[in-house]
């Protein structure tokens, strides 16, 4: 029965990848996900990467070695085993077909029928509604400042932002959400990725992230709506709506890559790695401001 919801959800992940695979969290979350100021953090980290003492005479060679070392190191950090590759590739193909034959036409109709303002409002609304999962995961990770911000955001957006349709907390108070989820929490607790997985209709994931996704679902208020059909309808609306912002991204990914399966896998793993390493979240005083 949840199948139709899953179809919708799946392609979020399937579709959201040109600019880094926004995970299914974003199906519930604000695709703005503006907490990422990790650019600086990453830069710092790279500064500490090994600089091999090169005996090459030409400066060009040693510079190249340095860049090569940097890349190799990062590649090692993000690589996750993929023992189920044949199955995963098959599922990737299934998702691809579903996207082009079902989802894309539906999304096109949706974008045509619903104004951008209404879509943004809905996106904010559902993001606000998904506060519990983010809050709990902030607390579980010991990110008290971020948890505090989540609470403030919820209060402000619900009251001032008309039940969360607007995001005055971000626009006026510069409070940015922490896009935390259970997959990240488990990673912070030291659980490894396990192996890479592509779920039919749900898209890229890993063993750990799948467990996280399952756990987070319990904190999704929409899940508890009665009757079940209503719950599914609302979830499907949420997912369709957030995906309507990503229309065209999957196509762009396919156009630019040689092997979209590998590209998607790599992008997903890099994206998750960064999310997990992203310490501090919205509490980061260096948050980039528009």
């Amino acid at each position: 029965m949840r199948a139709c919801l899953l179809i919708m959800m799946g392609i979020v992940v399937g579709a959201g990848c040109a600019a880094g695979p926004q995970t299914r969290r974003n199906a519930f979350g604000n695709p703005a996900s503006p907490t990422r100021s990790a650019g600086v953090g990453r830069a710092k980290e790279l500064t500490s990467t090994v600089t091999p003492p090169s005996d090459a005479n030409s400066p060009g060679e040693s510079a190249l070695d340095e860049l090569e070392a940097e890349l190799t190191q990062k590649q090692k950090q993000v690589s996750v085993p993929d023992p189920l590759e044949p199955v995963n590739r098959f599922m990737f193909g299934v998702n691809d077909v579903v996207y082009f034959w079902v989802l894309k036409p539906v999304l096109r109709g949706y974008v045509y029928a619903v104004s951008p303002e209404a879509r943004t409002g809905l996106r904010n609304f559902f993001h606000n509604l998904a506060t519990p999962a983010r809050l709990v995961n902030c607390i579980l990770q010991g990110k008290n400042a971020a948890a505090d911000v989540e609470l403030q955001r919820f209060a402000i957006n619900t009251v001032v932002g008309a039940l969360g349709l607007g995001d005055p907390a971000r626009d006026r108070w510069e409070l940015k959400p922490a896009e935390e989820d259970l997959g990240q929490t488990l990673a912070v607790y030291g659980l490894g990725d396990g192996f890479y997985l592509v779920w039919p209709l749900l898209g890229p994931s890993t063993l750990r992230d799948s467990v996280g996704m399952l756990g987070d679902a319990f904190l999704d208020p929409v899940r508890y709506l009665q009757p079940e059909t209503l719950s599914i309808g609302v979830s499907a609306t949420d997912t369709t709506n957030s995906m309507s912002f990503r229309l065209g991204e999957y196509e762009s990914l396919k156009a630019a890559t040689v092997d979209p399966y590998i590209a998607m896998r790599d992008a997903y793993l890099q994206y998750r790695k960064r999310q997990i390493q992203n310490e501090g979240g919205s509490a980061d005083p260096n948050s980039l401001r528009p």
Binding site: L46, T51, A63, K74, G109, E228, R274, R289
Partner: protein, 251 residues
């Protein structure tokens, strides 16, 4: 009672079904509509031509309007700011057709990249030596085409964006500059990684900084290609890789 609930949920289900069906039909309709005017436009050339300044001008005068001049190109912050302002100007120019927009943006942006280095790094130390000179040349050419598809095709999606650059962290001959792109209320964090060219290869207009990798939301473009090429070369030969690169992008 139970029967009533069941019937309710049945009607609700069929409601969802109908909504999806309507959207599907609407989508097909919109898709068909989008295709038609494109075909139609090609016939009355007059209207299209009047909107676009064709870049046939031998003196390249049309280009001077879009050209980006950087005061101090050796300052990477200034370089990126000037270039991005130039790109935004093109994106907002309503009179330009998509094809020409792409052409202009290509001309503004592409010189900033160190494509040969990117190609070499994308294959890495394990695979780069396997290619002979001719193959390297061909590989770089094909690789650049793919890379450009990544940033040029997307320009159709953007019109009204803002960006904020933050001073980068220099490290010897490298620098990483974070940028936030704000588009439709979404913030996308992009990290530019530049390296310094040696004295002979620096140019007057562009200085000595060149981009060798871009991270979008933490996803390194270079690394994504590296994984793909690595996978292909592990299973097959250099010829296989070139053949795959040569194929038109999968649609």
């Amino acid at each position: 009672m139970e029967m009533a609930v069941r019937r309710d949920s049945l009607t609700a289900r069929s409601c969802i079904g109908w909504v999806i069906l309507v959207l599907l039909v609407l989508g097909q309709h919109v898709g068909a509509k989008e295709k038609r005017p494109k075909d139609a436009k090609e016939q009355p050339a007059g209207t299209a031509a009047s909107r676009v300044q064709e870049p046939n001008d031998p003196n390249d005068l049309w280009w001077s309007r879009w050209d980006v001049r950087v005061k101090d190109p050796n300052n990477p912050m200034e370089l990126l700011t000037a270039k991005w302002n130039g790109v935004l100007k093109v994106l907002q120019a309503k009179e330009l057709e998509q094809k020409l927009k792409e052409k202009i943006i290509d001309r503004i942006v592409s010189p900033m990249f160190d494509f040969p280095l990117m190609g070499q790094l994308a294959l890495g130390r394990t695979h780069w030596p396997k290619l002979d000179a001719a193959q390297r040349e061909k590989f770089i050419r094909l690789f650049v085409t793919r890379l450009k598809a990544l940033y040029l095709e997307k320009t159709a999606l953007y019109t009204n964006e803002k960006f904020v650059l933050k001073p980068g962290v220099p490290k010897k001959n490298m620098i990483q500059i974070p940028m936030t792109l704000i588009s439709e209320g979404k913030e996308i964090v992009i990290l530019y990684k530049l390296h310094k060219l040696d004295e002979q290869s620096k140019s007057k207009a562009l200085g000595h900084w060149r981009i060798y990798d871009v991270e979008i939301e933490g996803v390194s473009i270079l690394l994504t290609y590296r994984s793909q090429f690595d996978d292909i070369l592990r299973r097959g030969s250099v010829q296989d890789l070139l053949a795959q690169l040569e194929k038109p992008p999968s649609k």
